[in-house]
């Protein structure tokens, strides 16, 4: 079986041929399995956004290849077009892409570009709206009349309605309050559970990703610095720190507890997990 997305020696320069030429990503080789939920982390400027913009052909590689579903997306015009529909990309601050008169029409923009039938479009819009929690009474409203959080949901629905095989979120929680973040994580988890599609989440917040990713890819200086399961990556705290990243605060707290001789596990990445362990500990039970 082919990978959902595969890159082969992928390299991209910005401002090519000028003095400011920089390799934003350099010789990246990645495989993303179908149905996987992958987190991509890295400090600002490490090349995350550039990398994912190659997955649906928004950027053309300067060298190397991008394979979606085993097919080189730059083979011809049709493969490129198909890659846009197979790989849905939800940019940072997606609410700034809203433009239609009504929320409904905006969510329908993608499916319409796919040349689907009216009935199919309607079905998809309603499904995406339900997934993202866009209220039915908002569908007829102008997207500019919604609140910030509601706009974000509507915009995410606009990408989800294309029902791509791979859905990518670039910093989806940026600018949201803690509740908004939590809701969003739930939303993504839910979407994954129900559709079984491949999901890629780009973030520099380790906490958000820890709770949901099957695998983590760490970008540093335009290349892939590490990849592996959450445990594997987060156990290398010192290396992460040297790349300008931090392990989640809760992990730090547990490391300190361990240093004090309290018998708690080291692999705690979310507050929820930590809370459960502490509760059992306080009740006198053994830590799991």
């Amino acid at each position: 079986m082919s990978y959902a997305i595969e890159t082969v020696n992928l390299t991209h320069y910005y401002s090519k041929g000028t003095v400011q030429q920089v390799a934003a990503i350099n010789d990246v080789n990645l495989q993303i399995e179908k149905g996987e939920l992958v987190g991509i982390i890295g400090h600002t400027g490490s090349g995350k956004s550039t990398l994912i913009s190659h997955f649906n052909g928004l950027l053309k590689p300067d060298s190397g290849k991008v394979l979606v579903d085993g097919e080189d997306i730059w083979k011809n015009k049709e493969t490129l077009r198909q890659s846009r529909f197979k790989v849905g990309l939800c940019f940072q601050y997606p609410e700034y892409q809203l433009f239609e008169e009504t929320v409904y029409k905006d969510i329908a923009f993608g499916p319409k570009n796919m040349k689907l039938s009216e009935a199919e479009i309607k079905e998809r819009v309603l499904r995406a709206a339900e997934f993202t929690g866009v209220k039915p009474e908002h569908l007829g409203k102008s997207p500019f009349d919604l609140s910030g959080g509601e706009k974000r949901r509507a915009a995410i629905a606009g990408v989800m309605s294309m029902e791509p095989q791979v859905l990518i979120f670039d910093e989806p929680a940026a600018g949201l309050d803690p509740k908004g973040r939590k809701d969003l994580v739930e939303l993504i988890k839910n979407y994954r559970k129900q559709t079984g599609s491949t999901v890629i989440i780009v973030s520099h917040s380790m906490e958000d990703i820890a709770g949901m990713a099957d695998r983590i890819i760490v970008m540093n200086n335009s290349t892939v610095a590490m990849q592996g399961s959450v445990d594997e990556v987060y156990s290398r705290g010192d290396e992460l720190r040297s790349m300008g990243l931090n392990v989640p605060e809760i992990t730090e707290i547990f490391a300190k507890l361990r240093a004090k001789g309290i018998n708690v596990p080291a692999n705690v990445y979310t507050v929820e997990q930590g809370e459960n362990i502490l509760r059992t500990l306080l009740k006198g039970g053994a830590a799991v």
């Binding site: 910005y14 401002s15 913009s53 649906n56 928004l58 077009r81 846009r84 529909f85 849905g88 990309l89 939800c90 940019f91 997606p94 700034y96 892409q97 809203l98 433009f99 923009f109 993608g110 570009n113 796919m114 500019f144 606009g158 990408v159 294309m162």
Partner: protein
């Protein structure tokens, strides 16, 4: 990438031209442009061309950059040259067929106009190469400040110009971002006829407008918070003072003008 377009083509440097008072540079540029149109003979025009070359050399802006500023006008140059050759008649006839005559006067006029346009572009692009847009608007504000007596809000106009220039790169970045977001939703910006393409711009244009207004409000708010109330009673951080070199430059302009007038009288006019 749309971002690679350069606007406000300042070329950083420390040459005499860079250090010249921007007000004086504006006056010099306009002065020279007027003088270019006073030229009548090849000799006076030659003096201007020499001046342009001289200014380009002392500006230390690489020749490559200056040629780049000429690139957009190549078509116009060729076009005017052809028109001049075809439509101007007089003097020795070199070629005549199909009702088209190529004459000595036609060729002279064509060459003359070409040199004139090139000098014009070189001189005015030297102004923008050696002066930052902010310095330029600042200079315009000061030069126009006498208009205040006619109740024209010179400061406001200059501030608007500065802000507009400042936001060009930001808006270009924004367009880039929005275009990518809509392309990711399958928007097709490249194919179709004129109407279809114009329609395809709607998903770009509306978010752009929305964000431009949002930015404008935010900026106005931020400026108010920092007690900006317009030009009234504002002092400046950077004072402009005319120095010796500025007067020397002015003298240079006067000398060139005198030279042009002298050569105009002394030699036969081309046009």
């Amino acid at each position: 990438m749309i971002r690679d377009i350069t606007i406000g083509q300042y070329y950083p440097g420390k040459s005499v031209l860079h250090r010249l008072d921007p007000r004086m540079k504006l006056i010099l540029t306009f002065g020279l442009i007027v003088v270019i149109f006073l030229c009548k003979s090849f000799f006076s025009l030659g003096l201007i061309a020499l001046t342009a070359v001289f200014a380009a050399i002392i500006s230390r802006v690489p020749a490559k950059m200056i040629l780049k500023s000429l690139k957009p006008i190549v078509i116009i140059l060729l076009f005017t040259a052809v028109l001049n050759i075809i439509y101007t008649e007089g003097g020795t006839v070199y070629f005549e067929k199909w009702g088209i005559a190529i004459t000595e006067k036609g060729i002279n006029t064509a060459i003359f106009t070409m040199i004139r346009i090139v000098s014009l572009v070189v001189i005015s692009s030297l102004l923008t190469y050696t002066t930052t847009p902010t310095m330029l608007t600042d200079a315009i504000e000061r030069l126009l400040s006498p208009l205040k007596i006619f109740k024209i809000k010179v400061h406001t106009l200059a501030m608007m110009m500065t802000l507009a220039l400042r936001f060009i790169p930001t808006l270009i970045e924004e367009i880039d971002r929005i275009m990518n977001a809509q392309k990711a939703r399958g928007a097709d910006l490249e194919s179709g006829g004129l109407v279809q393409r114009a329609k395809a711009l709607v998903p770009i244009f509306i978010p752009l407008m929305v964000s431009a207004f949002r930015r404008a409000y935010e900026l106005a708010f931020a400026m108010t918070c920092r007690c900006y109330t317009g030009g009234e009673g504002r002092t400046r951080m950077k004072q402009m003072k005319l120095k010796f070199r500025d007067f020397a430059a002015l003298f240079f302009l006067v000398a060139v003008t005198a030279g042009v007038i002298f050569l105009n009288i002394k030699f036969e006019a081309v046009i």
